[in-house]
């Protein structure tokens, strides 16, 4: 790589490096400013919206599938539920649909747990 370097006047390189450091300092400062401001914004928003989240959102059920922006159209969700109920006779699988909305606190570790389960099979099906 030094060959490339030699092609340049060292003085030019020095000036350019100082410029780069300045730009870096400004850049880091601005990125932090933006994200600190965003943090502040969110803290403020949380403070002003003390109302607890509606219950319906904490435990989304099959009756209100449209509130889950999962990309699955509501008809399909209804069909899944109906089919599952019909074939298994239990509501056990219905829980799995609830998991898709990772907002409930307990869902966090559950999601992590699921990740662990899948991560033991790193090989893909093309193997």
């Amino acid at each position: 790589m030094s060959l490339i370097l030699l092609a340049y006047d060292l003085e030019v390189a020095e000036t350019r490096f100082i410029d780069a450091l300045q730009l870096s300092a400004v850049g880091i400062a601005v990125v932090f400013a933006a994200l600190v401001a965003m943090q502040g914004l969110l803290v403020l928003l949380r403070r002003f919206s003390l109302t607890p989240a509606p219950v319906a959102e904490k435990t989304p059920t099959i009756q209100s599938p449209a509130t889950q922006p999962t990309g699955i159209p509501p008809e399909i969700v209804a069909v899944i539920s109906a089919a599952v109920v019909a074939s298994l006779g239990t509501g056990a699988r219905v829980t799995r649909i609830r998991i898709a909305a990772p907002s409930a606190g307990s869902a966090w570790s559950e999601t992590g747990r699921r990740e662990v389960q899948t991560s033991h099979h790193p090989r893909r099906r093309d193997s």
């Binding site: 390189a13 780069a20 600190v36 919206s49 959102e57 922006p69 990309g71 999601t111 662990v116 093309d126």
Partner: protein, 482 residues
Amino acid sequence: MGETLFRFIHDSGFGQFTGGSMVMIGIGLLFIYLAIRKGFEPLLLVPIGFGILLGNIPYNAEKLSLSVYDGPVSEAKLDYYTTEAMEILGKEYAANEKIERPYLSAHLDLVKQGKAVMAHSEESIVYIHRDESGKVVPPPPGQHKLRRGGHMVFVAEAREDHRYPVVIPLTQQDAWNASVLWILFRGIEWGFFPPLIFLGVGALTDFGPLLAKPRLILLGAAAQVGIFGALACAVLLGFDMKEAASIGIIGGADGPTAIFTCSTLAPHLLGAVALSAYSYMAMVPIIQPPIMRLLTTRAERLIRMPPPVETPRLIRVLFPVLGFLLTAFIANAALALLGMLFLGNLLRESLVTERLAKTAQTSLIDIVTILLGLTVGAKTQASNFLTWQTIGIFVLGVIAFSMATAGGVLFAKLMNLVSKEQINPLIGAAGVSAVPMSARVVQRVAHEEDRQNFLLMHAMGPNVAGVIGSAVAAGVLLSHLQ
């Protein structure tokens, strides 16, 4: 008929074959292999790898317009050309000197008189001597100079093999000469493919983890030191500022942001920067864990974190709107990226525009991903990829990722020093973005030491914050250097 056949074979890939294209095809095959067999970001590396093949099929550029470089000649583009050095009409121009208007006029006059030929890409201006009868004649020796790196050229003659710099045949001069790949590449050169991908990314992203733990946003800022550290290193290696910024942005670990920035600041490096960014994003499970373990104690890695409180719907809807205003005011040069990211998220979270969000998440992002990958891949050609620069870019890329990881982890430790509420410093590594790969790496490293510690969702906060952080950093670079 013998002649027809001979001419066909001469023009075919076999007749036009060079060692460079063979090596590039090998690189394309390697990326396809890694994507399919090793699962390295297949959604992008399959199209990119195939694009490398597509861009390196040899052909007779005198006759056909096939590559991503084969576009129409436009006087308007001359303003952007830089030259290594040239002498024209008795006037000397130094390296990288902006060509001035008076020269341009003179040059255009030559073109109009049929005495000069403009080449057809950002990479080259070509000057050809013609004798009285209009035949191209060899120029006086020593009159042409090639710039290092292959990407900006001013020559008094075309290369022997007539391939690079690709010269528009005289018959096609001044004419509409766009290849299909050139057309499709407009999405990158005009900069609208990356924002459209960000629209889909926004519609796919759940900012919930970030909203639940606002404090962790800062980790997404800290990891951007990788960008600026690599930028400084790149300058030391001799890259100019725009090139260095384009290389640094690899440390943002975000493909569309890297392509958006690089295609504006240093389009000649686009192939190498994009490949480097996506390769290292796929290799995050290899790059990050050693650094994470080196910089943390076992006690730190064992820290568990409590589940967060609920985020009301109102905040989910307000966040994309207010977050956009805030970041766009600060980094307005990244307006297109930030705007599309947050619009996509608003379409998702408002719940009244579900059908738009769904299309943005599926057809739209898929279509753009295929075309972006294919044309970025096709932009890599032997002349501008098989260079010392590319090696430098890959070295700087791994430096950028490492610095970003270290930055996130160390900043998390710093936060533990000043705050009562302890966070597991491993999640700092997720601040590099590479969504969701690096959050998964955090989960895995923590889980290896404590089977009951599930950090995935905690790491998703810094992870998505890192996307915003690198878009803001891109805004700073674009604003300063454009």
